[in-house]
């Protein structure tokens, strides 16, 4: 048997000498093959890639056991720059294109290690063949490309070295289904040209479709491995990562009395003729919809549809160019964001924005800020009134943590939490302000099917127990279908459909714009 291109044996990785990210991980990549590593966030997938590309050091991590061999040579003591020169290149998670460099300069930086001008020109021509859009936009700044184009640029940048082994970290993250299909095809093409690919994915459908072999990584440990077909057929993998066995839940309207009432009853949110322009580009044009009190309303659409822009206007982070948003009798579009919170509107963020060094409890207490009455002086002197108030706030925060299943984690610093739990803390912080309307920005982005099912259950429970309205922005269609009563669909900043999940799902316009070629 010939030696595999990459072999990882009994690898242990830990950060800061304490947090163990990988335990006894072994895997092989044969020359010219595609291997996928599946797993949820926090499973250790990125740490595995960083160990292979020798980049752990700059993140405070270290290999504490096991070996990594590439082309038969042990990589211990070899630096990133050297492995790149030997043809092993990583495309980092989140694409990380150089935003202020043009497309061409990005590619040039990718080919930094190639000294032979002719080899480099050939590599660039191959990249332009593979991604014609990059050739069209060669003089544009990387930061101005769309998410899908940035992914292509990140892959093209790595291909500039004509690698033997390409490491891809979550290439489909945050992309709409149509683009995910396209990225999958590109991986297959790159592989057909002779490059082996080690692909990290939480989108198991995509990972298993393009891979020959796959490994499932859970909490730093390989729990399953085999050919892609074997894994796709395994019941366990199907249920956790592919969502095949999960039952479709009908969106039942909850009529029971809420357990912990909100400070105020939810009101009707009305968005009328909302237009937002950045420079000359209209991110939203004349969008109107309404969220009825006590319902779950979903705002969906492919990447770049204007969903985040919309929620940013509602939360007060962006200003509307035209149109108005009213909550009950108050006009949100006329208020700064701290006043919006005062009206009982709270939000979470797409890219988690928590104080990482602080405990879960302290992060949740931040959400209570607008309800805190004691002044700085009273708090500093710890007057009886201030102490009483603090106890009350801590009690409320504990209730909310229990509701979200965070009770045992209250004293843990946020940086020690998994991604799914961080998302819960974000939601908890918003809930701590006792809102009557909760805005959720992509609550399940980057989660596996199993995790997003749990999140859906949490949202249902929050709505039931706290009796509030929820507006959620998502592009995970099945997630929304099982949860929302009303759905508004955006595409290119315009509303293209509205109705119950069942109605929207049948709308031909939505199928075309949103669900991708395979569904239409």
């Amino acid at each position: 048997m010939t030696e595999p291109l990459l072999s990882v044996e009994h690898l242990d990785v830990s950060y800061d000498g304490a947090v163990q990210a990988l335990r006894d991980v072994s895997l092989e990549v044969a020359a010219g093959s595609v291997v996928a590593v599946l797993g949820s966030n926090g499973a250790g997938k990125t740490s595995l890639l960083r160990a292979v590309s020798r980049a752990l050091g700059s993140y405070g991590g270290a290999v504490t056991g096991g070996t990594i061999r590439y082309q038969g040579v042990d990589l211990a003591g070899v630096d990133t720059s050297t492995v790149v020169r030997r043809g092993l290149v990583q495309v980092p998670e989140g694409r990380r294109v150089f935003r202020d460099l043009t497309v061409e300069e990005n590619l040039r930086a990718g080919g930094f290690t190639v000294r032979d001008a002719k080899a480099r020109d050939e590599a660039r021509d191959r990249v332009f063949d593979l991604f014609p859009v990059l050739a069209e936009r060669r003089t544009q700044l990387g930061g101005l490309l769309s998410g899908g184009q940035q992914q292509m640029l990140a892959m093209g940048r790595a291909l500039m070295t004509s690698p033997q082994l390409l490491l891809l970290d979550e290439p489909s993250l945050g992309l709409a289904p149509l683009l995910v299909d396209q990225i999958g095809e590109i991986v297959t093409t790159i592989n057909a040209q002779g490059t082996a690919v080690l692909l990290i994915e939480q989108n198991a459908v995509m990972g298993l479709r393009v891979a020959d072999r796959a490994y499932v990584l859970e909490v730093g440990h390989v729990t399953a491995s085999g050919s892609a077909d074997e894994l796709a057929a395994s019941d366990d993998v199907r249920q956790r990562y592919l969502g095949a066995a999960a039952p479709e839940r009908p969106a039942a309207v909850v009529v029971t009395e809420p357990g912990i009432p909100t400070a105020e009853a939810p009101k009707r949110l009305a968005v009328e003729g909302l237009t937002v322009r950045f420079g000359g580009i209209a991110a939203l044009s004349e969008v109107s919809f309404a969220v009825e009190p006590g319902t779950v309303h979903a705002l969906i659409g492919p990447n770049g549809a204007g969903k985040s822009t919309c929620i940013n206007v509602l939360g007060g982070a962006y200003r509307a160019t035209e149109g108005r948003v009213t909550y009950g009798g108050d006009e949100l579009t006329a208020l700064p964001s701290h006043r919006t919170a005062g009206l009982g509107v709270a939000r979470t963020f797409q890219n988690i924005s928590l104080a990482l060094e602080d405990t879960v409890e302290d992060n949740l207490l931040v959400g209570r800020h607008r309800l805190m009455r004691s002044g700085v002086l009273a708090s500093a002197l710890r007057t009886p009134g201030a102490r009483r108030e603090e106890r009350a706030h801590r009690a409320t925060v504990r209730d909310i943590a229990d509701l979200l299943g965070l009770g045992p984690l209250l004293q843990v610093p946020v940086h020690g939490l998994s991604y799914g739990n961080r998302k819960r803390v974000e939601m908890g912080r918003a809930l701590a302000a006792r809102p009557s309307l909760l805005l959720l920005d992509e609550p399940v982005a980057g989660m596996t099917h199993g995790e997003s099912q749990e999140m859906a259950e949490t949202i249902r429970q929050v709505r039931r127990d706290l009796g509030l309205s929820v507006l959620l922005v998502e592009h995970d269609m099945p997630f929304v279908m099982g949860l929302a009563e009303q759905v508004t669909v955006l595409d290119f900043g315009k509303k293209i459909a509205e109705g119950t999940p069942a109605e929207v799902q049948r709308d031909p316009e939505v199928l075309r714009a949103y669900l991708g070629a395979s569904a239409a």
């Binding site: 590309s53 980049a55 700059s58 993140y59 630096d79 990133t80 720059s81 790149v84 020169r85 290149v89 990583q90 980092p92 990380r96 150089f98 935003r99 202020d100 460099l101 300069e105 990005n106 040039r108 930086a109 990718g110 930094f112 290690t113 930061g143 940048r157 790595a158 070295t161 985040s308 940013n312 939360g315 982070a317 963020f349 797409q350 890219n351 924005s353």
Partner: protein, 297 residues
């Protein structure tokens, strides 16, 4: 009218020298994230080397030694001190650089003492006349050299692999290192470039109409800080624009001090650059050409 034009040209040529220093601040900042408060001492070091060496080896060889010396000191500060910080935060690095500045400045002051050392520039105290306008030859040479230096920098950063690699490393170090770019090398190159620019500026700051090398030159190099800040911390073109603006402002305010005295009081020329900086930052918090902190919410 000719008085006004003289002031403008004086201001612009002085501004170009400031922009050399400001560009050094910006390059070190983008390539290693360090606020290099020792930059003023490196400017002085460059001028000092020329002043002590030119009587024996001649001006141009002395200039060459000064360029290498200032670059080497920059590279060593980075390699021996900055990279070995136990807590490599921008704050700690800035405090470290204040310390380095005190050490360098104290040693240079001890060596120079009360003297004012001439740098022995071949253009001496000669003056170039354009009609009614007279400019020191040193200033004209400074303007020419600065323009050439910035053209070379532009070529480096936009046309060479090393320059594109340095920009990539400045934009996103960990990702650049995944492309095989060695961050220790791009950082060393940045410090060396800044040292070269500092030495060049040092010589022009100490030749006519300035009397010569004295420790106060390190302080006048600090006049480049408002130029750097208002151009934007991380932008070389910003440093050029900032330098010109500050040079022009201080030349005009100083030149018309007699007329302004009743309104602004004497000595306002020294304060004016900072006033300009504050006004610009009020309107554009990231400077004239600095990159905005883009945060997606």
């Amino acid at each position: 009218m000719s008085y006004f034009l003289t002031q403008v040209l004086n201001g612009l040529s002085y501004g170009l020298v400031l922009s050399l220093i400001a560009a050094g601040f910006a390059i070190v900042f983008t390539s290693t994230g360090v606020l290099n408060f020792a930059h003023g001492s490196i400017v002085l070091l460059g001028a000092y080397l020329v002043a002590v060496l030119h009587p024996t080896i001649g001006f141009w060889p002395a200039m060459l030694v000064a360029l290498f010396g200032a670059a080497l000191v920059g590279v060593l500060i980075n390699a021996l001190l900055v990279r070995n910080l136990a807590d490599p935060t921008p704050g700690a690095a800035a405090i470290l650089m204040l310390g380095v500045d005190i050490v360098l400045l104290t040693e240079l002051t001890r060596r120079i003492g009360n003297q004012v050392l001439p740098v022995g520039a071949p253009w001496g105290a000669s003056v170039v006349r354009f009609g009614e306008i007279a400019l020191p030859t040193g200033r004209v040479v400074a303007a020419g050299v600065t323009v050439v230096a910035f053209a070379a920098l532009w070529y480096l950063f936009s046309r060479t692999d090393l320059g594109v690699g340095m920009r990539a490393a400045a934009a996103d170090g960990p990702t650049a290192s995944l492309m095989g770019i060695r961050l220790s090398r791009t950082a060393a190159t940045g410090w060396a470039l800044a040292g070269v620019l500092a030495a060049v500026a040092g010589v022009f700051l100490t030749s006519f109409p300035s009397p010569g090398v004295a420790p106060t030159i390190a302080l006048s190099a600090f006049a480049a800080i408002p130029a750097w800040v208002l151009g934007g911390f991380d932008s070389v073109p910003g440093a050029v624009v900032g330098g010109l603006l500050i040079g022009l402002t201080s030349a005009l305010v100083t030149g018309y001090e007699g007329d302004l005295e009743h309104v602004l009081g004497a000595g306002f020329g020294e304060v004016a650059p900072y006033v300009v900086m504050i006004v610009v930052l009020l309107v554009r918090p990231s400077g004239l050409m600095g990159s905005k902190e883009a945060v997606r919410v």
